[in-house]
Amino acid sequence: MPDDNRISTDELLALLFKERNLEHFLQRNESAYLTASFGEYLNNWCRQHLEVPEQVIRRANLEKSYGHQLFSGKRNPSRDTVLKLAFAMQADLTQAQDMLRIARRSLLYPRIKRDAAIIYCLHNHVSLVDTQIILQNLELPLLGGREK
C-alpha cells in the first residue's frame, strides 16, 4: 500500500509527464558505474541491508535458481526483472534508474503510460503486488508478464 507521505499522482505527473525537456530526467552518469556489474550491485545492496539474496528473490517473485544466477552475474536481467527487483529492494526512482543503467536497460520514461505508473509506484513505495494490480486496471502489460 502507498505510504502516507506520497505526493499525489497529479503532482508527480505534472512534474514529469508535462515536462517537454526530459534530458535532465534521463541524464546519464555512467562513469560512476563502469566497474559495477548488476550482480555486484545486488550483492552489495544485500550486504548493506543485512539481507540474504533469497529474501530479495522471493519478494521479486523470481524463480529461485534464476534469481541466484542474477546475483552471481551469470545472467543478465531483462528490464522487467530489474524493475521487479527494484520493488523487492524498495528502491526509489533514482535507485531504480541506477539499476537499469547498470543492467544496461532502457531507463523509465514518464511519457510512457506504463513507465509513468511504475515511476509513481516506486516513488510512493507501492508494493510489487499492488503495482501489478494498478497495471492490470490500466490494461497495461504486467511486470514480467510478456518478456520480450
Partner: protein, 535 residues
C-alpha cells in the same frame, strides 16, 4: 483498494491528454523508450493484438514539420533492413512503426566480445551488401548516419542497418546540405555543409566504422598497427574530398576480399642480404663441426587467452620472456578467478563471486599446450568453450564454476579425472562424465538439472554436490551413486528425500537450518551426521 482505484483514475485522466495518436495507442503498448531527442522519440512497442514487438519512431510535428520520407522505407526490401509496418498521425505527432530486430547494437556487441579479423570482415561485407541496395535505389538513398549504434547484430550473426531518420534520396542539382545531421566522427566533411551528400558520405562513414572495429578509435589508429591492405581501404574511404574516395560501395567490397590474403613480398635487396647471412652462418656451423639448433625454425608459443598464459606463468614463476615447451611442461595447476590469475590455491580460495569482476576467458583451447596439467581451477567467466580440455592425460581435478560451459563431453575425455566441480555452469546434461571411472567428487549444483537422469550413474563417487537443485525425488540415488559418503543439499528443493535412506555408505549430509527437520525425518535411526551450514 480505493487508493489504488484513485491512482488508476488519476493516471487515466492525465494520459487522456497524451499527444500520441489515439489509434497508435489503441494498437500498441509503449514498452520502453529506446532513444529520445528533441522532437523525436523511438519506442519499443508491443502490438496489443498478438503481442509482437515492433519499433515506433514518433516525430513532433512542431519540430519536424517535414515528414520523413516514409515512401523510401516502404520501397526498400533486404534482410539487412528493417521492414516498414505502418504509420499513425494526428495534428501533433507522426508515429512510424517498423520491424523490431532481435539482437544487440554493434557497440554493445563489440564491448562484450573480442572480434577476430574474420568477424570484422563479415560485418564489413554484410554492410557493403546493405549499402549496395540503398545506393542502387532510384533515386539513390544515402543513410547518412552509419555508426555502431545503428547496426544491430542478430543472434545468428547477421546485421541489420536501422535508423533512417536522416536518410535522404539524392536530388539532382542540389549543391549543399543546409542542416547538419549525423554523428560527429562518423559524418564526412560535406555533411557539415561543404557540399551535397551522396553515396560517398556513407562510404566515408563505412571507413570510419572499419577503423573503429579494428582499433576502437574513430579518428586515428593509436598504437595499433593495421593490416596494410585494410589501412589503404580505410584511408581511401575516409579521404577528405569525396572524389578521392571509392566511388561505389561494390569497389570497397571487392577490395575487402583481398584483406589478409596477400602474400608478402620481400624487398629483393633484403632477401639477398638474408640469403648471404644464412649461407655464412651455415658455413660457420660446418666450420665448427656441428649442426646447431639455431638453424631450426623456432615456433613461437602463443596463447589465445592472456589470462590462462598469466596463470601458467605464475605457476612456473616466469612472468615475462618467451615460453618454451619445457616451461609449459612444468605447469601442473592453473588458478583463475574472474579476471585474476593466482599462483596457488590460497588466494584463489579467498575470492568470492560477489566481490570479483567476471573474467574474459571464452575458450580452453590453450590447455592443449599444457600436457602435464593436473588441476584446472577457473571460476566466474562468461560463455566458455570447453572442448580444449579434451584428452589431457594427467588431469585429475577440474573446477569450472560460475560460467556458461559449452558442455562436459570434452571434460569426460580426461581419462584419469577424479574430481569434477561444475557448479553453476548452465549444464542440463552431465551424463558424459559416466566415462570417467575414477570419478570420486561430482558437484553439479545450481545447474539446469531437474532429474537424476540428467546426471547419470557413477560407481565410485564418494562426494556428491547437489546444492540449489530442484528435484522431484532422489528415489534411485543410491543405485546411481552406491559409494557416496557425503552429500551437500543446501538451498536445494527436493520434494521427496526418502531415497537418501538407501545409501549404504552415507556418512554425512550438509544442509541449511531450515532443511534439518526434513532430512532428520528421513535419516532417523541411521548414524548419518547432519551438518548445518550457514550458506
Amino acid at each position: 483498494m480505493n487508493e489504488l482505484k484513485q491512482i488508476v483514475a488519476d493516471m487515466e485522466s492525465v494520459f487522456a491528454q497524451s499527444s500520441y495518436p489515439k489509434d497508435f495507442l489503441a494498437a500498441y503498448d509503449q514498452m520502453e523508450c529506446l532513444a529520445s531527442h528533441t522532437g523525436r522519440e523511438t519506442f519499443l512497442v508491443q502490438r496489443k493484438a498478438g503481442g509482437e514487438m515492433a519499433v515506433a519512431t514518433c516525430y513532433d510535428r512542431a519540430v519536424f514539420p517535414l515528414r520523413p520520407d516514409i515512401q523510401l522505407l516502404r520501397e526498400l526490401h533486404h534482410p539487412g533492413l528493417p521492414r516498414y509496418y505502418e504509420q499513425y498521425q494526428n495534428e501533433q505527432m507522426l508515429c512510424v512503426v517498423r520491424e523490431y530486430i532481435e539482437g544487440e547494437p554493434l557497440n554493445a556487441y563489440v564491448r562484450d566480445r573480442h572480434l577476430s579479423i574474420a568477424d570484422i570482415a563479415s560485418v564489413a561485407r554484410q554492410l557493403c551488401d546493405i549499402l549496395q541496395v540503398l545506393h542502387a535505389h532510384v533515386p539513390p538513398v544515402v543513410h547518412r548516419d552509419i555508426k555502431p549504434e545503428n547496426i544491430i547484430v542478430r543472434p545468428d550473426g547477421g546485421i541489420v542497418l536501422i535508423d533512417f531518420d536522416i536518410a535522404r534520396a539524392v536530388k539532382e542539382g542540389s549543391s549543399t546540405d543546409t542542416v547538419f545531421f549525423g554523428t560527429k566522427g562518423f559524418a564526412p566533411p560535406e555533411q557539415y555543409g561543404f557540399g551535397q551528400t551522396d553515396n560517398r558520405a556513407d562510404i566515408y562513414a563505412f571507413g570510419v566504422l572499419l577503423r573503429w572495429l579494428v582499433t576502437g578509435n574513430v579518428r586515428a589508429n593509436g598504437n595499433i598497427s593495421i593490416d596494410p591492405d585494410l589501412q589503404r581501404i580505410i584511408d581511401r574511404c575516409t579521404a577528405f574530398a569525396p572524389e578521392q574516395r571509392f566511388s561505389d560501395i561494390s569497389e570497397v567490397k571487392r577490395a575487402l576480399v583481398t584483406v589478409g590474403r596477400r602474400k608478402r613480398r620481400i624487398n629483393p635487396r633484403i632477401a639477398a642480404a638474408l640469403a648471404l647471412a644464412a649461407l655464412l652462418m651455415l658455413c660457420a656451423g660446418f666450420a665448427a663441426g656441428r649442426y646447431t639448433d639455431w638453424l631450426r625454425p623456432v615456433e613461437r608459443i602463443s596463447f589465445q587467452e592472456p589470462l590462462i598464459e598469466q596463470a601458467a606463468r605464475l605457476w612456473i614463476g616466469k612472468e615475462s620472456g618467451p615460453l618454451t615447451e619445457e616451461d609449459l611442461a612444468q605447469v601442473k595447476r592453473l588458478y583463475i578467478f574472474g579476471n585474476q590469475a593466482f599462483s596457488d590455491a590460497e588466494p584463489f580460495n579467498q575470492c568470492d563471486v560477489a566481490d570479483c569482476v567476471g573474467g574474459p576467458i571464452r575458450t580452453l583451447d590453450d590447455l592443449q599446450l599444457l600436457k602435464n596439467l593436473e588441476e584446472v581451477h577457473i571460476v566466474h567467466q562468461g560463455y566458455v568453450d570447453a572442448t580444449g580440455i579434451a584428452g589431457l592425460a594427467k588431469l585429475y581435478t577440474v573446477e569450472l564454476k560460475h560460467m556458461h560451459l559449452s558442455g562436459v563431453a570434452a571434460i569426460a575425455d580426461a581419462p584419469g579425472l577424479k574430481h569434477a566441480i561444475l557448479f553453476c555452469d548452465g549444464l542440463s546434461d552431465v551424463t558424459a562424465l559416466e566415462r570417467c571411472p575414477w570419478l570420486e567428487t561430482l558437484d553439479i549444483g545450481l545447474n539446469d538439472i531437474t532429474s537424476l537422469n540428467q546426471a547419470g550413474s557413477y560407481p565410485n563417487v564418494k562426494n556428491l554436490g547437489l546444492m540449489w537443485l530442484e528435484l522431484d525425488n532422489v528415489d534411485d540415488i543410491a543405485q546411481r551413486f552406491p559409494k557416496v559418503r557425503s552429500v551437500t543439499l543446501q538451498h536445494g528443493n527436493i520434494k521427496d528425500l526418502s531415497g537418501l535412506k538407501a545409501f549404504p555408505e552415507l556418512e554425512a549430509v550438509y544442509v541449511l537450518q531450515e532443511q534439518v527437520d526434513a532430512v532428520k525425518t528421513v535419516l532417523e535411526g541411521t548414524d548419518v551426521q547432519i551438518n548445518i551450514t550457514e550458506n
